[in-house]
Amino acid sequence: MKFRTARFSLMTVAAAVALSTSPAWAQLKMGFNVPLTGFAAADGKSALDGAKLAVEQANAKGGVAGQKIELVVYDDQAVAKEAVPSATKMVDRDKVVVAVSGSYSGSTRAAASIFQNAKIPYVVAYAIHPDITLAGDYMFRVSSMGEVQGRGGAKLVQNLGKKRTVLITVKNDFGQALAAGFRDAAPKLGINIVNEYEYAMPDRQFGALVSKVKSDNPEVIYASGYFFNAGPLVSQLRAAGITVPIIGQEGYDSDKFIEIAGPASEGTLITTSLDRDSTEPATRAFLADYRKATNAGADMVAASSYTAVSVAIEGLRKTGGKGGAALRDAIAAGSYDTPIGKLVFNDLNEVKKDIQVQIVKDKAFRRHSVISDPVLLAPPTKAK
């Protein structure tokens, strides 16, 4: 109770600030739930910066049908119990025409059915749980689902010519979805999972686990987590003398990972959706604009949130600012040239796209390879 009231009042303050700083003439409201406090606040900041950039750029070009877009921001702390009241407020009080999730699966899943029932399109940036798009036809996701990314990870192991793999999984929706995908693809690709471990989100000290992994003597380690887990984990694996390749995913995708793990981060591979060495104009322009706006390098979360907001805006342009079924159909029918690739939604409103493999080289993420396998990486479709 104590926790709830303290956090809750912070949330309302944050929301009030967001509302009061937005210009009075703004007319088209876009809801945005994002973790600005709590354990995921670092990702939340990237997400908000990416979303703001997309809105500013659209408004600078005159907005949509003569109306400016206003981002209505709610802090959901990446937890379900905060997401529900936020989503309800967006629907009932703010009357948003469209909403975007810049948050994790836990809160996004909880908000999804509220937007679905209100017939408000909800574009999800980087939450990867399968249930989100299953909530209904108003749900859209611009990133690959966890299982798909997990299968991509297995493909990468095969591409590296390795077999004996140890799985280290962060115990939440994200980690478990990745592990499920990896396990699913492993036998088809001749990969042998020697051992599997799970750890909890607050863990930073992996001493015991590292000792055990060392005795497993794997050829490659597939470890999920966020940069705040992965930084210490990779550094501790290397400190124990383990030199085999380590494969991470989108959660590692932050310069902060390289800063924390230091020299130990060199050579770490990640499967993600942002290619820093891309030659695509949309990606190059985004990377440059983001740096100019925030004075920091973009990460996957920023790029995905920027993309999700852009997709929503593109839909609004087509409907002339109208929401509801018209907007749903407009978003579903569009094709989008975004910093994370060319996106087209399938019948479940999931996207099919290549997986970018980045490697840490000289303290930066650089292109390693691209995994392109339309069969293995196919997103799920509507249950027939």
Binding site: L10, T37, A42, K45, G207, S211, G231, S235, I260, G262
Partner: protein, 287 residues
Amino acid sequence: MLAIELVAQGLIQGSIYALVALGLTLVYGLLRILHVAHAALFTLGGYVGVLVCNASGSLALGFLIAALVAGFGGVAMFRLAYQPLLSKPPYVALIASIGLFIASEEAFRIIFGAQGMSFTNPALQQQLVLGWGLQFKLAEILVMVSTASIIGVLAWLQARTRIGIACQATVSDPQMAQSFGISLLKVRDINFFVGSALAGFAGVWVALLNNLVEPTMGSVPSYKALAIIVLGGLGSVPGTLAAALLLGVIEAFGTIYLGDILDRNAIAFAFLIAVLMVRPQGLFARS
């Protein structure tokens, strides 16, 4: 071989727990307050250590200033938050403590940012290869060595010096101690200072081991240290030490062999419940 490594990793973790839990048990022994906000001083120490070390390039200075700042922070918490509440029932101070802890987490986030901070040039990262496949970071070894020496010195001070004996007297009978001319306020200040300085010191070690300090880094220690002092028999210094090391080792093995059924951070409490069923007074309490 794996068993030896797991014991070593357990002792490293246990040393950190010991440093944090010691301050908590000192406060409980003295004032019967469950000082949850103690973990905020652990975080504060981590931040100060990183900031000072990055600015000055000296890790030793980082440790020193972190311990001092955390120490004075602890005294300030006592004077401003707990002292005015001493006449109230203990849960009032507990509520204040939880409030302080939540407020500090958010204050760290607002002041230092949500992203956390790292050392620009983390020290003590050299590898020590001990043979038989055993390999440790220098920092890991030094955590154990420094914890053992600091606690040794403190134990000696408490047994041999006037102020140490005054502390012991105050714990066992505050009124009697006062009638012998011991200043309760001074003893309490010193206790908070020493306990909090140890937490700050531990914060710098954790910052070094993970190369990361974050606003929420105190959240796990805040409750785990409570379990440790209960295990150790509330207020008993040697009991707390033993419980901290034991828990470190049990967690190391538990993570590997019980990981499928029990979360690492739940092991402390499962162990606590098991112990309390057999010995309600804690593992190491006298009666």
